[in-house]
Structure formats: C-alpha cells, structure tokens
C-alpha cells in the first residue's frame, strides 16, 4: 500500500479539494469568471480600446451609445462632455481599479498580518497598545478617516491608496491576532518550541501558515472594498485626479450631465458595480472553501 501511494504529491490534492468546495457555490464560480474577464480586459486595454482614453474629439461631445439614436459605432458606449470615448476610458480605468485593489490589499495585509502576529505573541501590554490603536482606527467611519488622511497627505491616487490601506488594516490585525491566539496554544506549536524553534520561526513558519485561510478570504473581500473606496474618494475629488480615467473620477466629472446624458454616469457606475459584485461573490466562495468552520466533514 505504501509503495503505490508514496508518489502522490500532496499539493494538487489540496488544490483539488479547494476547487471541489469552491465549485459548489455557483455564484462564486460566476464571480470568478466575471472577475477573470475584467482582468483580461484591463490587461489588454491597449489592444482592445478603440481610442486613446485622454484624447478629446471636439466634434463628438456627449455622443450617446451606438445603439441609441444619434450614436456612432466608432464610440460604442458614447463620449463624455469633452469628447473622450467612454469605452476606452472604462477599459483603462479597470487597470487603475485592479492596481488599486492589489496595492491596497498588499499593504494592508502585510502590515495587518505583521501587527497581528506581534500582538498575538507579544506580552500583554504591547498587545493592549496595538489592539487599542486598531480599535481607535475602527471607531472612525472608514471613508471619513480616509478623507482626513488624504486631506493631510494631499489628493492623489497614491495617497488615496495609502489612506485606504491604513483604514482597512485593523481588520487584518484583528483577524490574524484571533487566529494566532487559538493556534499558539495547540500542541504542535508547543512541540515546535520543544524542538528548539526560535520566536521568529514560531511566528512565521509554524503558526502563520495555519492562520492563512481566513486572511485570504478577508483579502478577497477587502479587494472590492478598496476599489469602492478609491472610487468614492475619486468621486469626492480626493483620489485620482483628472484626466486619469479612474471610474470614481469619471463619475465625478460627469455629475452635472446626469439628467441630460445618462450614459456618462451609468457605464462607470455599472463597471464598479459588476466588479465589486463579482469579487464579493468570489470571496464568499473562497470562504466556503477555506474557512474550516464552514467546512462540512
């Protein structure tokens, strides 16, 4: 028996198991496909987009989408008040959104996991200090705090990302600390201590990999949060600055034309909605597949 199974590597087994649980959630699979499609569109924006996103065509301002009266197929989703192609701007905007999502999640997760690990292993006074600071950050409405931070740092996409990362960080700290607290009393951690593992090895190699499942779920969900917050900051004029084709900024620029030209606000809004929805659906599936508390059997 031993000989026949020895060569089965464990890695694909775990991946396959993950996929089995993930596939059970239909919404999550749809979310994954939509998300993948958006990523592909963002990556291929240069090839797909019919126009340069910042070039203005003065002869074609506020042109309606191609299928409605007065539209033209050279601007499939119409143009904005400055004559820029909305489809091209949306495609390039997708890049910003994903870039923002990735950067924010990486910053927030790295910082949050580090602080959470330290809080989980530290003596009580340090743990208390870290957690109370996180409680204070959490007690502000997140968008308001981000606004204040951007006001201090100055409005730009980068500063908006930093602000949002700081606002999202406490969730990771709490999650990591809670997971570390439950893991560190387990026998295998004690066993690593007996084996002579140092503090750093205990934190990063013994405990952290066993805490990752809920953190991955949180990362997926805060990815959409980050996109939403950056759009909100952009809409308030505190995020990406024009003429950057960022979705929230596009909404802000088109605000005064809402009644006259529905397409200038509808398409960026739809883009945000669909992206965030698909990521959230996917995150739910991830939770089903990774969270041991929700796992059947």
């Amino acid at each position: 028996m031993a000989e026949t199974t020895t060569n089965t590597p464990a890695r694909p087994g775990r991946l396959r198991e993950f996929w089995r649980y993930f596939r059970e959630n239909r919404g999550a699979v749809i979310g994954l496909y939509v998300f993948a499609a958006f990523v592909a569109l963002a990556l291929g924006a240069d090839l797909i987009a019919p126009h340069d996103p910042t070039v203005q065509d003065r002869t074609a301002t506020l042109l309606p989408p191609a299928w409605s009266e007065g539209g033209s197929w050279s601007f499939p989703l119409g143009t904005d008040p400055l004559g820029r192609d909305i489809l091209s701007r949306l495609l390039h905007g997708a890049r910003y959104s994903f870039f923002v999502g990735i950067v924010v999640v990486v910053i927030a997760a790295t910082g949050g996991i580090l602080l959470g690990l330290i809080a989980g292993f530290a003596p009580k006074w340090l743990d208390t200090i870290i957690m109370r600071i996180m409680d204070i950050i959490l007690s502000f409405p997140s968008l308001l705090l981000a606004l204040v931070l951007v006001a201090i740092l100055g409005p730009s996409l980068l500063n908006a990302m930093i602000a949002i990362a700081i606002v999202l960080q406490p969730h990771y700290v709490r999650l990591t600390r809670a997971a570390v607290m439950t893991e560190r009393t387990k026998d295998y951690v004690v066993s690593a201590r007996v084996a002579g593992a140092g503090r750093a090895r205990l934190m990063f190699i013994t405990v952290l990999p066993n805490c990752l499942a809920p953190i991955i779920v949180q990362a997926a969900l805060s990815f959409s949060n980050a996109i939403l917050d950056v759009a909100a900051l952009g809409f308030l004029g505190m995020g990406a600055q024009p003429p950057t084709p960022e979705w929230g900024t596009m909404l802000a620029e088109a605000r005064e034309f809402i009644l006259r030209a529905w397409w200038v606000v509808t398409f960026p809004g739809l883009a945000i909605l669909i992206t965030v929805l698909s990521i959230n659906l996917m995150g739910d599936g991830l939770r089903d597949a990774l969270d041991p508390k929700l796992k059947r059997s």
Partner: protein, 369 residues
C-alpha cells in the same frame, strides 16, 4: 549503570495557577503541583501515575520548562535549569525531549513529515542539508516508516504512525531524556503495544532515560522500572514497579490497583473501589490529602501532613500508617497465566526477536501486556 546516578531531579517543585482574580482580596489559586521531589536515575524508565487532574501533565511540562515552576528547582545532570533562558534553554532542550499525548494535534498540519523531522535539527544548527536529509531517512526507518514518507503530510498517516513520527521527531536531536505525556493513551490498544515496544527498543538502543506519564496501569507495569504515584499535586508513593504492583504501601495505590480489571475467570476482586471525587485542589483537605477517601484514615491523618519517607527498601511512601497496614496488591507478574500460556508467550517472543534480528526496523504487532 550506576543506580545512584541521578539524571533529573526536582526539589520542592510547585506550580500554582490563578483561577480567578477578584477585584478585592487575594486571587484564587490552584496548586496543581505542590512540592514534588523527584529523583530519576540515568537509564531507567520512571512512570508517574495518578487520576485525571492530579497534576501529572503539569509536572511533565515543567520538567521541559514548557511551564515555569512557581517555586522549587529542577536539576538536570546536576545543573540547575529552573531559570535558564534563551540559547541556554534551547541547548538544554536538546537533551530533554517531549512526546505529546495527541498525535493528531502535535504535528503541524502544514509541514511535511520530512520538514517536521528536520525542524529540530535545523533549529539547533546540526549538520548540512544533505546530512539532515540522511538523518531524517534514518529516523523514519528507525520508527518503522519508509524514507519516501518524508514528502507526505501528517494527515495522510494513521494515529499510530503519527505517534511514531512524534517519537522520531523527539529522537532527532539525540536526547538523553524522553518525557512522554500519556504517549499511548490516545491510541487503540493494539497500536499502544506497538508504540510501547518501540519506546522500549529505542530506550535500549540509545541509552535513553524515559519518564512516562500515564493513567493506564497495565502499560506502566509493562514498561516502568520505578513508579511514582501522584495524588492532588503530591507524590504519595515511589517504588520499584514490581514492588508497587504486588505490595503497595499507600492506600491510594491499593485503590488504583484494585481498579485494574483482572482478565481471569474467578479472579478475586479487592473491594477497594474509591468513593467520591478527588477533592478540589483549590481547597485541599487538611492533614493527609487522601484522608476523606481513605478507608484506613485515623485522627492523625486528619490533622497532620505525612512526609514522603524513604523506607529501608528504597521505596518511599507518604502515609502515617504505612508500617502497620498490609495492603492488597496484584498477583506477581506472569502469575495470571497458566504454564502453557507462559510457554507459548516465550516461544512467541523468541520468534519475534529472530524476525526483528533480520529486519530491525519493522515494529512488532505484539499485543502482549
């Protein structure tokens, strides 16, 4: 082997846990381990028995400094290790290794068996990567697993196999003392015998000293050279295993022995079943801690604490009436078997050692107890 050569000893070792800290007044404490003087000789198998909650696990964990003692001292090879920190503590742990009770909880589920066995070597900076890999293969073979198993994860193994991985991990750094906290009680009976035999073989091969915590007296009788009986955080009797089982001197030991089922038709059962629960260790009884449950208790027992007195035969007992009482133990080892059965066992043993000589790494399936 010098009988007086102590490898590990404790002096008046105590550990208190705070259970409740009221806003005013003194905190409520449990004295989990309350003044243990333990002397473990080099090369012996020392067993500690007692019912649940008597402090055996706390004691075992203190011996490897996983729990810090509140008072008292632990001496390893005549060196005080009670307050070691950092690198010194790590170096000391190289010689004192621990086997856990639950083989399902004590192996990191995210590490391969190879990485698990390599971890102690890496932590102590022993060998080059190739040497370590060779050592891992050797260790796996020694506990009856295949070298290929190194790339697998713990969840792919059975309970007995996992416990053997735990033992291999403890052995990796060539310790002098192996402390097992109920090393077999989470396993099936058939697997227990396997692991017990493996431990004994390893003990002889590597000249280990074993300290086994257990509540299963059958396992202990099979393994131990000397046995310490714990009750409510204190040692009440320490004696060579044979003597303890056949001629117990403390009433609590007698009660423990009478609880062993006798696998024989018409066996005489001693009517010494203990009544009541063990007292609350937050508020232990006055005098001898066993007196509320002891059938032989006198007025003296209620008021005065008995000392653990070393008797003429090297055994020690903490009982005021140890001299006058004649307590009932078990029949001598082997007495329970008919001569025919004894002959068959002898034959079986001979076969087994023959087979093991040819293939020393295969763990035996023998379920002799």
């Amino acid at each position: 082997m010098d009988g007086r050569d102590l490898i590990l000893e404790t002096r008046a070792l105590r550990r208190r846990f705070v259970t409740r800290k009221p806003l005013f007044g003194p905190p409520v404490e449990v004295r989990a381990v309350d003044g243990i003087d333990l002397r473990v000789r080099r090369g012996e198998t020392f067993a500690i028995v007692g019912e649940s909650g008597c402090g055996k696990s706390t004691l075992a964990r203190m011996l490897v400094r996983l729990i810090d003692p509140s008072e008292g001292a632990i001496r390893f090879e005549n060196r005080d290790i009670t307050r070691l920190e950092g690198a010194e503590l790590r170096e000391m742990r190289r010689h004192l290794q621990f086997i856990f009770q639950d083989p399902f909880a004590s192996l990191n589920p995210r590490m391969t068996v190879g990485a698990l066995l390599e971890e102690p070597l890496r932590a102590h900076g022993i060998g080059t990567p190739e040497e370590r890999r060779a050592r891992v293969a050797e260790l796996l073979g020694r506990v009856g697993l295949l070298p290929q198993h190194a790339s697998r994860y713990p969840h792919e193994f059975s309970g007995g196999q996992r416990q053997r991985i735990g033992i291999a991990r403890a052995l990796a750094v060539s310790p002098k003392v192996l402390i097992g906290d109920e090393p077999v009680s989470a396993l099936d009976v058939s697997i227990q015998a396997q692991v017990v035999n493996l431990l004994q073989d390893l003990k002889e091969e590597f000249a280990l000293t074993l300290i086994i915590i257990a509540h299963d007296l059958a396992v202990i009788r099979h393994m131990a050279d000397r046995v310490g009986v714990m009750y409510l955080g204190q040692l009440v009797e320490v004696a060579p295993a044979d003597q303890l089982f056949t001629r117990p001197r403390h009433p609590y030991t007698e009660a423990l022995l009478s609880a062993i089922p006798v696998p024989r038709v018409g066996a005489k059962r001693a009517a010494r079943a203990l009544e009541g629960d063990p007292p609350n260790p937050i508020d232990p009884p006055s005098g001898c801690r066993f007196h509320p449950r002891c059938p032989y208790a006198t007025e003296l027992c209620r008021t005065t604490v008995p000392e653990l007195a070393i008797g003429a035969d090297g055994a020690s007992v903490a009982c005021h009436r140890a001299q006058e009482l004649t307590l009932e133990g078990l029949a001598a080892e082997g007495g329970g078997r008919s001569p025919d059965a004894e002959k068959r066992f002898a034959l079986y043993r001979a076969r087994r050692s023959e087979r093991e000589g040819a293939n020393p790494s295969s763990p035996s399936q023998l379920t002799e107890i």
